[in-house]
């Protein structure tokens, strides 16, 4: 067991809207690792990230955390991951601090300092501004500041660079590198170059057997009982 990677995806496949998006995707990640997901628009990067977080059920394949399937102890896994998705997940009626502290308290980490977290992304002075008045880039910084509000070893970042300017991108690089140096792991989907130290890359491509009809026929004919 000791040799098994900390996080491992095996032969994952995703079905959305009755369509096979990707299949046979596997990856491994260990302490300090960074996995960058690439692929053309609609390839399934966001889907894979949500699948790792458990928001989307895999159509096939399995996900292993510390050697055991994630389903065994999902809550322990969830306590150890933070997901920063395409949507900010911020309440626009609340201030940046309130949003961050709510997040921290819900995860049982009330000791973190929201203003310091905001400072790491260079917006400490906006701490008490309601998110409603913020620009897209500022909102994204607040949502990334969540990463510092609760201890978690796995960070899942979907297009983290969206709406960020170069200053903020550099700051994110510093934060990510510090996290990895402390043994943390990062999975990030992006079209652009990630700042900070390089990691491994996983390109998601449409199912190898690009003849989609074949899959459909199989499915309809039920050669694969598990399809249903």
């Amino acid at each position: 067991m000791a040799e098994a990677p900390l996080l491992q995806g095996r032969d994952l496949a995703a079905l959305r809207g009755e369509r096979l998006i990707f299949a046979g995707v596997g990856f491994e990640l260990d302490n300090g690792g960074l996995l960058k997901l690439t692929g053309r628009n609609g390839a399934g990067k966001s889907t894979l990230i949500r699948m790792i977080a458990g928001l989307v059920a895999p159509f096939a394949g399995s996900l292993h955390w510390k050697g055991a399937e994630v389903g065994r102890d999902r809550e322990a896994f969830l306590a150890d991951l933070i997901y920063a998705g395409h949507q900010d997940g911020l309440k626009t009626a609340l201030t940046a601090t309130e949003n961050l502290e709510l997040f921290a308290r819900l995860r049982g980490a009330s000791d973190r300092d929201a203003v310091a977290a905001l400072g790491s992304f260079g917006i400490a002075e906006l701490a008490d501004l309601p998110v409603r008045y913020m620009s897209a880039g500022q909102r994204r910084r607040v949502s990334l500041a969540r990463l510092l509000m609760s201890p978690a070893s796995l960070w899942l970042l979907d297009e983290p660079l969206t709406a960020l300017d170069t200053g903020a991108i550099a700051q994110l690089g510093v934060v990510v590198d510090a996290h990895r140096d402390a043994g943390g792991m990062v999975i990030a989907a992006t079209h652009a170059d990630l700042p900070g130290q390089p990691g491994s890359v996983l390109e998601i491509v449409p199912p190898v057997d690009a003849d989609l009809d074949t899959d459909l026929d199989d499915e309809m004919d039920g050669d694969r009982e598990d399809a249903w």
Partner: protein, 67 residues
Amino acid sequence: MSWGGSMSEFLSMGGYGFFVWTSWGVGAVLMIGLLIQSIAAARSAAREVQAIEQLSPRRRRRKADAE
């Protein structure tokens, strides 16, 4: 036949003709209508599948049980 063969007497249903015939009539219309609509939907769906299968390149082996 329980009626003396008189058509009008049969139709009047002892004065309740409206109620009896509407019940049977609407019931029949709805059930036949649903049947016809279902058959038509099945046919047109089958036709559509065939049409789109023809469009698909590299169409492989047996088609669905199109009827």
